[in-house]
Subunit: 150 residues, 2 copies
């Protein structure tokens, strides 16, 4: 696949900033495609997987829908409907919150935890196969990404 220019058949970019925008969009698509390949046999979308990980990180403490929304990678996404889908697959449970009846407490089920466990081995391999950088470069890139957003 090599360079971005080759991958999208564009000869050159106006400046490095312009190339960076395109490069990030393209690399995102590259990553998500690879992630989809792993998740599809488990009937999960990348964001559904992310929500499950958020809930596992709670260690059994119930979480509200809006708290999930805050932690989601895509802030414009719709936690309410994602939660619906996960509930239909019996990977999470919804409980009416007694202290505030507007809220809904969400917890991951045993089945949800089991799916995450099965996925773990695949996801570790994913990093090594898909991200062709050494650890030093990965750390550098994390630093740059954090700085990019200011």
């Amino acid at each position: 696949m090599g360079s971005l220019e080759e991958a999208i058949k564009q000869k050159e970019f106006k400046d490095p900033y312009n190339k960076l925008v395109v490069n990030l969009l393209y690399t995102h698509s590259y990553l998500v495609s690879a992630q989809n390949g792993i998740l599809k046999p488990f009937d999960l979308s990348p964001e559904q997987y992310n929500v499950l990980r958020i809930l596992r990180g709670q260690n059994g403490v119930p979480t509200t829908v809006s708290s999930i929304q805050d932690r989601m990678l895509n802030k414009m996404s719709n936690a309410s409907r994602l939660v619906d889908k996960l509930k239909a697959k019996l990977l999470i449970e919804r409980r009416e919150c007694p202290s505030d009846r507007r809220q809904v407490d969400i917890v991951i089920t045993d089945k949800g935890l089991q799916v995450l466990n099965e996925l773990q081995a695949y996801m570790e391999g994913f990093n090594n196969e898909v991200i062709k950088l050494n650890e030093e470069e990965v750390v550098m890139m994390n630093t740059l990404l954090d700085k990019l957003r200011g």
Copy 2:
């Protein structure tokens, strides 16, 4: 916004690779949201904007739908339907290809070029406001992204 950990309220990551995946997904969302802010008054989606730029880069030479698909940032997207939308806005034209009647030649219209021109000023400001890196860091990041995909 600062660090990723703060932005998505996650205390720590298992390893830098794991953080990098999340960081790229999150930064993508950050970028696309900002892009949307610019494009929305022009009634364009990011990928529609990208297709227009691809066509402008052809300098008047007609391009087939599948050639557009190859150059798109998201290879899994659907050039056929995007082209439909752009045609409805009179930003492109479709012409039956005489040498191969399966193909459809696509060209950008004057109106399409005009929209891109109007957008140009906004997009240049976009880079400086949204990407909070100096040029050296941008070049470094482009190198790392190209290497990441191998």
